[in-house]
């Protein structure tokens, strides 16, 4: 037995040249470090935001930040209540979702249930182009096209307003809702549809009573992701929504979102280490936590409520 094993290991050794042997030891480590960089990035984000945010809360009470109704960190008298920024963000995001979710969902149903293959092949890439347009371009569109258009309907509206920004953010996230929902709908087995058609259902009945319920978890998760994307959107709101932190639910008024505030501060020359400088970290932390929780929620919904066939 022993004499059999020994020669076979030596011949094995002979096949391996020393260079490849070394590369097979070092390469996995280098590759692992590349993959680990993503974890480091996350840690970097959390540590960066957290350390400066903790500093910030040494000079501003946490409760004042969370429940204060006035935000004016750059102008005396200073106030650090984030509610106006939150309400501004929420206003834009809700308008965006009112635009994007029905249109995106209807597009998804059309593409997956009604459209002939030829139409689908043309329309899908066009919608994807919408997702590839840089956000600054949408900002220009909001300011120079949508706002004047809306102004002819609501003459009292200002140049900067939540409505125009919200509508354009909505247009931007339509492809996100439509393509993710369509993926979920295409994953519903053909046999379910055929069963319904065999019972005499119309296409609409198949879509509404078979496909949408079966793909519901995917649809909800796409809506949550789109919501989160709208919250984090920066340039459209920085260009078109204004820079006035305003605790209002009136979409015709100028507001400021969390992201637009961060841009405003970084455009000015706020001294490093001051409380004003700390605000971008506190606001950034709030933004990060909200979008992070929404993304986790989207993943949870997609997994937990998936109908398996």
């Amino acid at each position: 037995m022993e004499s059999n094993v020994a020669p076979s290991t030596t011949t094995k050794m002979n096949f391996k040249n020393s260079r490849s042997h070394l590369s097979d030891k070092i390469v996995p480590i280098i590759l692992f470090l590349c993959a680990a960089l993503s974890v480091l990035t996350t840690i970097g984000i959390v540590v960066t935001l957290l350390s400066e945010t903790i500093n910030f809360f040494k000079s501003v009470p946490f409760m004042d930040f969370l429940f204060g109704t006035k935000w004016s960190p750059l102008i005396e008298p200073k106030a650090f209540g984030i509610l106006p920024l939150l309400s501004g963000t929420l206003l834009v995001t809700v308008i965006a979702c009112i635009v994007a979710i029905p249109i995106g969902l209807a597009s998804a149903i059309y593409l997956s249930e009604y459209a002939p293959k030829r139409v689908r092949k043309i329309v899908k890439p066009i919608l994807e182009v919408l997702a590839g347009v840089p956000t600054i371009v949408y900002g220009y569109f909001a300011l120079t096209f949508v706002t004047p258009l809306l102004k002819s309907i609501f003459p009292s509206m200002g140049v900067f307003n939540a409505l125009s920004a919200g509508i354009v953010v909505g247009i931007m996230i339509i492809p996100m809702v439509s393509s993710l929902s369509e993926d979920a709908m295409s994953a519903v087995p053909k046999s379910l549809r055929h069963g319904a058609y065999a019972l005499g259902a119309t296409r609409f009945e198949v879509a509404l009573k078979i496909v949408v319920p079966a793909a519901f978890s995917g649809i909800v998760s796409s809506a949550v992701l789109a919501f989160s994307r709208a919250i984090g959107e920066t340039m459209i709101v920085a260009v078109a929504a204004g820079a006035t932190p305003n605790l209002t639910l009136n979409p015709l008024e100028s507001i400021q979102t969390m992201t637009a505030y961060i841009v405003q501060v970084s455009l000015g020359d706020t001294p490093h280490g001051s409380v004003e400088y700390g605000t971008i970290f506190a606001v950034g932390m709030t933004l990060f936590v909200i979008t992070f929780l929404l993304n986790i929620l989207a993943q949870y919904v997609a997994r937990r409520f998936r109908e398996e066939y």
Binding site: L31, V39, Y110, I126, I136, I174, R229, M235, G284
Partner: protein, 291 residues
């Protein structure tokens, strides 16, 4: 009997009508997205075509809209992408190879994978805050081209990793087996067989990610890319500006002449993005033929 038949027929025709109406409604909803895209493009071309001349490419920014150009911004964007491309390619593909070829299916791998998909959902401005703290201040790279490129690399890495993983996963098992059967080691197999088979798919993903970086504004605003740069960066430690920042600056001014200038800038940027996307599509088509 005929009464039942009539009622039945009526019910069927009602349901058919409903189906037709909703069909039309769904078409209308789908066309809203397309109409919006058309309106956006037409609006920009109409506004910007007038200022789209050679001055735009050869002049530096100016306080006078008629004389202003975006030479420094175009060059800055190109430099930034040239710095980003090798770094993000090596890091992204390295991570993808690790996850697809080397990683054991354990908790750590699952954690890294979950982490990558979470990072893809982090708002871009948060990356700007990270870059500002780590690169600009922490490593004292200041508001340099390098700081900007590194920040943008972190931003696009999750996208590159995921697309490279898909490309690597599409390589048939048989190719690896064939390589192993010839006595190749793991790394020889990856380097000599898996990578060549998936390289066009990987490059497609990298180009698309880089084209996203060209249009991204918010993180670079945070890094402090300048809005008024009347010189070309001569080293990676120089200050810089990029096209979207220059466009943002022009949009922020109240004068209409600067808005039109912004529209011309947008046309230049969009043409660049379209060219990159076309090259990605060509690569993808080549790729789908190959395997």
């Amino acid at each position: 009997m005929s009464m039942f038949e009539d009622a039945n027929r009526k019910q069927i025709s009602n349901r058919r009508k409903k189906d037709l109406y909703l069909h039309l409604l769904f078409i209308a909803a789908t066309s809203i997205g397309i109409i919006a895209l058309m309106a956006l493009l037409i609006n920009i071309v109409l506004d910007g075509i007038g200022r789209l001349n050679l001055d735009l490419f050869t002049n530096y920014p100016s306080r006078v809209a008629e004389r202003a150009g975006m030479k420094s911004a175009i060059v800055g964007s190109i430099y930034m992408v040239l710095i980003m491309a090798p770094i993000s390619f090596v890091l992204g593909v390295g991570a993808a190879i690790y996850l697809e070829e080397y990683a054991k299916k354990n908790a750590i791998t699952r954690f890294i994978q979950l982490n990558i998909s979470t990072l893809a959902g982090v708002p871009s401005i948060v990356y700007g805050i990270l870059g500002l703290t780590i690169f600009v201040r922490g490593l004292s790279l200041d508001r340099s081209l390098l700081s900007g490129a590194l920040t943008m690399t972190l931003l696009v890495l999750p996208v590159i990793i995921v697309s490279a993983q898909e490309a690597i996963r599409a390589v048939p098992r048989a190719r690896r087996d064939a390589s192993f059967a010839l006595g190749a080691t793991k790394w020889q197999t990856v380097y000599g067989s898996v990578l060549p088979s998936s390289i066009s798919g990987i490059l497609t993903g990298v180009i698309l990610a880089l084209s996203r970086a060209i249009g991204e504004t918010a993180p670079l605003v945070m890094i402090g890319a300048l809005t008024f740069v009347a010189f070309l960066p001569s080293s990676i430690m120089d200050q810089f500006t990029v096209m979207p920042i220059q466009i943002f600056n022009w949009i922020s001014r109240p004068q209409v002449s600067f808005h039109d200038l912004a529209a011309s800038g947008i046309i230049v940027m969009m043409v660049m993005l379209v060219l990159m996307n076309i090259s990605a599509v060509i690569l993808r088509n080549k790729y789908s033929k190959q395997i």
